[in-house]
């Protein structure tokens, strides 16, 4: 049986005390143990940023890549070995600034990734610049006049791009966080999990106290239909005093990208033995050139 302790790494996190990443880290490990995925059966891919270091603190296959390129690297891994459950953990700068294009294409591709965004709405590792999810008017070192831009809406963007699983959770509710990740792990295609993750050092505005009274759970309403895309869009636009968390949208009727690739019908690619072409195959290739 897989337990949370199986994922214990000798490396201690460098996150600040109270950082929202601790809850995400614990939820990932708990969710993996809950669904019974052992460390060698998963691949956790990070980019660059505080949260992207999560693979270093977790004993599991992992890869810490480039800022913004988490999703394409993870896509390559998934296509090379879809026997591995591939999880991305990266921040809002990684996912929604440098990596936004990749996120939208991963959504329309419906590649089988669980894409966890540690969304603290600030740049932490570079010490406090505004991020793509910072509120308009947010004053930081690089936005002394207040940010002129509107924040991106990752939920609505993912829905528009054709994502088949779109969810949001937050670091103040470990159980909800774990449940959401468990549900994402059970999804066949691309699953976006945007997580409000308070940054206790550089973002005093979007704190635990800010979120606690505002968030409400979509799944508390039994009539909420996760297969209704228009309803999901309506909730995605809800912002301010009441902010929905939970699964906005989930459909399982669209095949994942890897399910459609002819070369993968015979199973994962990476474990297959690599052999020279057979004489018959060579003959056919040369026949094309006559």
């Amino acid at each position: 049986m897989v337990t949370v302790d199986d994922f214990a790494s000798p490396v201690r996190p460098t996150w600040c005390t109270g950082c929202g990443n601790f809850a995400i880290w614990n939820a990932v490990k708990r969710a993996l143990a809950q669904v019974g995925l052992a460390p060698h059966q998963v691949m956790i891919v990070g980019g660059i940023g505080c949260g992207s270091k999560l693979p270093d603190y977790t004993r599991a296959n992992g890869y810490m890549t480039l800022h913004g390129r988490t999703v394409p690297v993870a896509t390559g891994i998934r296509l090379a070995n879809h026997g591995l459950r591939v999880i991305c953990t990266h921040g809002d700068g990684d996912a929604y600034a440098e990596g936004l294009g990749h996120m939208l294409h991963a959504a329309r591709r419906n590649i089988g990734l669980v894409d966890i965004i540690q969304d603290n709405r600030i740049y932490g590792l570079t010490k406090g610049q505004y991020s793509p999810t910072s509120d308009r008017g947010r004053v930081t070192k690089t936005s002394p006049w207040g940010a002129f831009e509107l924040p991106v809406n990752p939920i609505a963007l993912a829905l528009a791009a054709g994502a088949t699983f779109v969810a949001r959770s937050w670091s103040g509710d470990l159980n909800h966080l774990t449940e959401t990740i468990v549900r994402a792990l059970g999804h066949r295609g691309y699953a976006l999990v945007d997580i409000f993750q308070p940054c206790v050092t550089f973002n005093r505005q979007n704190s635990y106290d800010y979120y606690r009274p505002r968030v409400y759970k979509l799944q508390d309403d039994p009539t909420y239909d996760v297969t209704d895309k228009m309803a999901a869009f309506a909730r995605a636009l809800e912002w301010g005093d009441r902010i929905p968390i939970g699964v906005f949208y989930q459909v399982e009727d669209r095949p994942a990208y890897e399910e459609q690739v002819p070369a993968l019908r015979a199973g994962p690619l990476a474990p297959r033995p690599l052999e020279k072409l057979r004489p018959e195959q060579i003959r056919r290739l040369l026949e094309e050139l006559v």
Binding site: R69, V73, G76, L84, A263, A266, L269, L274, K276
Partner: protein, 582 residues
């Protein structure tokens, strides 16, 4: 008076959309089936319709490695073709033009013949469509040079079979009409190249096809790319063979994603590559460093075109050498191959993946438009599948993984710099590599001593690899007074230039480098006498690289950067100049 030549060139010109290249390649195929040797290259604009395009096919009774400048027969599908290329036609040569187009108002050359044939009208009558005059005019050419049209018919039968018998029949009628139309002019055209019945079977292919086939043979099973001339035909070729050979191919959102996905696949244990051109490679630069830092095997195929920026999108240049050598921040080992022929492109296809896995680092195969798109015939055994080796280097086997003790060190310090690699997925080899500097396990580590050792470990791989790099091909006498130095696609034109100099009594030789970096051992001893670098760029980048690596300064540089391929004649003209000028 009609002495058979053993070497002649036919050029067809017209606008984009007239099917010049497809019919030109089809004609080349027919020539090869007829036992002749060919070299064909397309010159075209970056547009779908209009402009001026031409396809040149050189044919001979001996193997060819290059195009040459003189044209014996010009097939003009518009006036512009005559205007632009009449100067290239040899005395006694001919122009075939469409009666409906007429001739441009330029002075007629008295030493060239002009054959007016109603190409469009005949194509329409025989095949039902004037567009088929591209096929018709090649049949005219076959008639003029006394090449048996049966070979053209056989190619048409094969190439149009999937479009149904009606299309095949229409093409056969068009070919017959073309041959018939050539008859009144046959006696006036002095150049002949009859087929050689019963000649051994030969193959026709370009550098992109050869490289892709070599890569497939070498175990490439993952290709991610973004369309860009002239590299993306490799993705197309792989996609066409993906299902049969079990290859994952994807067209992705940009070249950043393309290389990142290939790196992901390489990390997961699949031989992966990203084909592109210089502009796409520019986007890949950061990811290249990721592969270097995290020791991931991956191959980039970079088919160069003239830059910077969009440059000349459909033309050729060797301007990216020093860029790919230095691309990405910091230092890491990389291997660069630059095949010069389709045979070398095939070899580079499989060798690149062996290097990538043996040294767990990125390998770049530098091609260019000229090599990538020019077609040449080779013997089936020249694509040497028997020589293909799949060497995965220090990759831990299932049994070795099972017997691992303790925590696995993915980046273990070793003398060669190569650390035994586990494909992720085994319970005894669970690890996470990091683009941050890391320790032997892969954990992020900023300690100075660790950095010193880990960086040196990676860089040592380059020295280990150097011993495996092939020395340059030496072509010509050992006591040559002139040593020409080339790399990549300049092989063919330079080889022919050296042959011609030898015929003139000049002792010249060629040193051709296909293994570029790390610079092979022992090169210094070959750099003797008068050395002339021949390169398709402005500055002589390889000459600079040689000076950096060996201290040798070449005596002269013959360079070209107009986007058009270097010809043997260009080298000879500039050699005379180089010899005359102290």
């Amino acid at each position: 008076m009609f002495s058979p030549l053993d070497d002649l060139t036919i050029r067809i010109g017209g606008e984009a959309g007239m099917g010049l290249e497809s019919s030109g390649v089809g004609f080349s195929q027919a020539l090869v089936r007829g036992g002749l040797h060919v070299f064909g290259f397309a010159d075209y604009h970056s547009r779908i319709r209009g402009g001026h395009n031409f396809f040149t096919v050189r044919l001979a009774r001996r193997p060819l490695y290059s195009h040459t400048e003189p044209v014996h027969l010009l097939l003009a599908l518009d006036q512009e073709t005559v205007r632009r290329h009449i100067g290239a036609v040899v005395p006694g040569g001919a122009v075939v033009y469409d009666e409906k187009d007429g001739l441009p108002e330029v002075p007629r050359r008295p030493d060239v013949q002009y054959f007016s044939i109603p190409l469009s009208k005949l194509a329409e009558e025989a095949g039902g469509s004037a567009i088929m005059r591209n096929t018709l005019v090649f049949a005219v050419a076959a008639g003029l040079i006394s090449f048996d049209p049966a070979y053209i018919e056989s190619v048409a039968r094969d190439n149009f079979a999937r479009k149904g018998p009606a299309v095949v029949d229409a093409n056969l009628r068009v070919i017959a009409a073309g041959v018939k139309a050539s008859r009144p002019f046959q006696d006036d055209f002095p150049f002949r190249m009859e087929a050689v019945p019963g000649a051994p079977r030969r193959l026709l292919l370009n550098g992109n096809q050869a490289f892709a086939m070599g890569a497939l043979a070498g175990g490439c099973r993952f290709v991610s790319g973004y369309p860009m001339t002239p590299g993306s035909p490799v993705l197309e070729w792989m996609a066409a063979h993906a299902e049969e050979y079990g290859v994952v191919t994807l067209q992705v959102e940009d070249e950043i994603a393309a290389l990142c996905m290939a790196i992901g696949a390489g990390y997961a244990g699949v031989r992966a590559m990203a084909p592109t051109s210089g502009g796409g490679f520019s986007l890949m630069v950061e990811a290249l460093g990721l592969a270097g830092m995290t020791e991931v095997p991956v191959v980039v195929y970079e088919a160069q075109r003239p830059g910077p920026s969009t440059g000349l999108a459909t033309r050729t240049e060797q301007g990216d050498l020093l860029f790919v050598l230095h691309a990405s921040q910091g230092e890491f080992p990389r291997i660069i191959l630059a095949p010069g022929t389709v045979e070398q492109a095939f070899e580079a296809g499989w060798r690149a993946f062996n290097f990538a896995e043996r040294y767990q680092t990125p390998v770049i195969v530098l091609s260019d438009h000229y090599l990538a798109t020019s077609v040449r015939d080779v013997a089936p055994e020249d694509l040497n599948f028997d020589a293909v080796v799949i060497d995965r280097g220090e990759l831990l086997t299932e049994a070795e993984l099972d017997s691992l003790e303790g925590e696995y060190k993915r980046h273990r310090f070793t003398e060669s710099g190569v650390s035994p690699r586990a494909i992720p997925g085994h319970p005894k080899a669970v690890y996470a590599s990091s683009s941050d500097e890391h320790d032997e396990y892969g954990h992020i580590e900023e300690d100075a001593e660790n950095r010193r050792r880990m960086h040196a470990k990676r860089m040592r791989k380059l020295e280990t690899a150097r011993a495996e790099m092939r020395p340059p091909t030496v072509y010509g006498p050992e006591d040559a007074e002139l040593t020409f130095i080339a790399w990549g696609s300049t092989y063919g034109p330079l080889r022919e230039a050296v042959d011609r100099l030898s015929e003139q009594g000049v002792r010249a030789r060629m040193l051709h480098f296909a293994d570029i970096w790390p610079v092979p051992q022992g090169v210094e001893s070959l750099l003797t006498g008068e050395t002339i670098a021949v390169e398709g760029n402005y500055s002589g980048q390889f000459a600079d690289l040689l000076r950096m690596a060996t201290g040798h300064t070449v005596s002269r540089r013959i360079l070209k950067w107009d986007g058009r391929p270097i010809s043997p004649e260009y080298i000879l003209r500039n050699t005379e100049y180089a010899i005359r000028t102290p």
